[in-house]
């Protein structure tokens, strides 16, 4: 069966620009893998119609949503809803990872109830620390580097075919490693290092999944 990697990448504001930056590497990697058909929905293509078209397939699909979110909805370009209770049935048999705030709480559960193999996401807001002097250029933001790293570890594990449960455990281990590095402000009392540690620990607390931990892409 063909494998489809669907990724939504809006970047209409500061927050989505960071997420867009975080997913650059995995898009490159997936495009180089000839066994994977990449369906990249960037900017204005990150809309409901395109998402529904991409999800309307029997191909083995990993859907990676980047954008704003709340408990019931994941949003795309210009914060228009792209996945919610009205179209979540399209995630049937798919593996879903939403790098978006809070969507695991209700939408994730609903997705699995409608037959998704697994839904990975956050139970609360996703946090990161940006360097305000370079915040217009997320690619160059060193404060954001640990957050970029954990996001990449998770999606790369999923794209590589690791079972969802193991991918989450690997990501949690990476979070813990980074927290040990950024956990104290002794050497940086007036900088952002301890704030980075706090945000990493928040995300570690909120990252979770529902569905089958043995599901793979």
């Amino acid at each position: 069966m063909a494998k489809q990697f669907l990724i939504t990448r809006p970047r209409h504001d500061k927050e989505t620009s960071y997420l867009y930056s975080f997913s650059k590497a995995i898009v490159q990697i997936a495009k180089e893998d000839k066994t994977i058909r990449v369906r990249e929905l960037a900017d204005s293509k990150a809309n409901r119609t395109e998402v529904e078209r991409a999800l309307s397939t029997n191909d083995l699909t990993l859907a990676f949503f980047n954008g704003h979110g709340d408990e019931e909805t994941v949003y795309g370009h210009k914060d228009k809803p792209i996945l919610d209770k009205d179209n979540v049935k399209l995630t049937e048999k798919k593996v879903v990872y939403a790098l978006a705030c809070s969507s695991l709480v209700t939408l994730g559960e609903l997705s699995v109830q409608h037959g998704a193999q697994a839904y990975v996401g956050y139970r609360d807001e996703f946090m990161w620390v940006g360097d305000h002097s370079t915040s217009a250029v997320p690619d160059k933001d060193k404060n954001a580097a640990p957050f970029r790293k954990v996001c990449h570890v998770l999606i790369h594990s999923l794209v590589s075919g690791m079972p969802v449960g193991k991918a989450i455990e690997k990501t949690r281990t990476e979070y813990k490693k980074l927290i040990k590095n950024y956990g104290t402000s002794e050497d940086d009392p007036f900088g952002d290092i301890a704030a980075i540690g706090f945000a990493l620990s928040w995300n570690l607390t909120c990252l979770d999944m529902t569905g089958n931990p043995n599901a793979t892409f």
Binding site: K14, C101, E125, K180, S185, A199, S201
Partner: protein
């Protein structure tokens, strides 16, 4: 969790947060920034967000004291 444990955790977390530059800002996916000073206010007020902050900080301490 008993009230005593919660109050002890709250004190510990406040002590830790007060070592961080209060003007450091954390970006939230919900289109807002929050400063360390504001995190401290939430913990002091004991609201839902403050309680989650305590939980995240306690998890962080567990990670920091755990063996590699």
């Amino acid at each position: 969790m008993s009230d005593n444990i919660y109050e002890e955790q709250k004190k510990l977390v406040l002590a830790r947060l007060k070592t961080i530059n209060p003007e450091s800002k954390i970006m939230l996916g919900t289109k807002r920034n929050i400063s360390i000073k504001e995190l401290i206010n939430h913990v002091e007020q004991g609201d839902d967000f403050g309680k989650k902050i305590i939980q995240a900080q306690m998890n962080m301490l567990k990670v920091l004291v755990a063996e590699q």
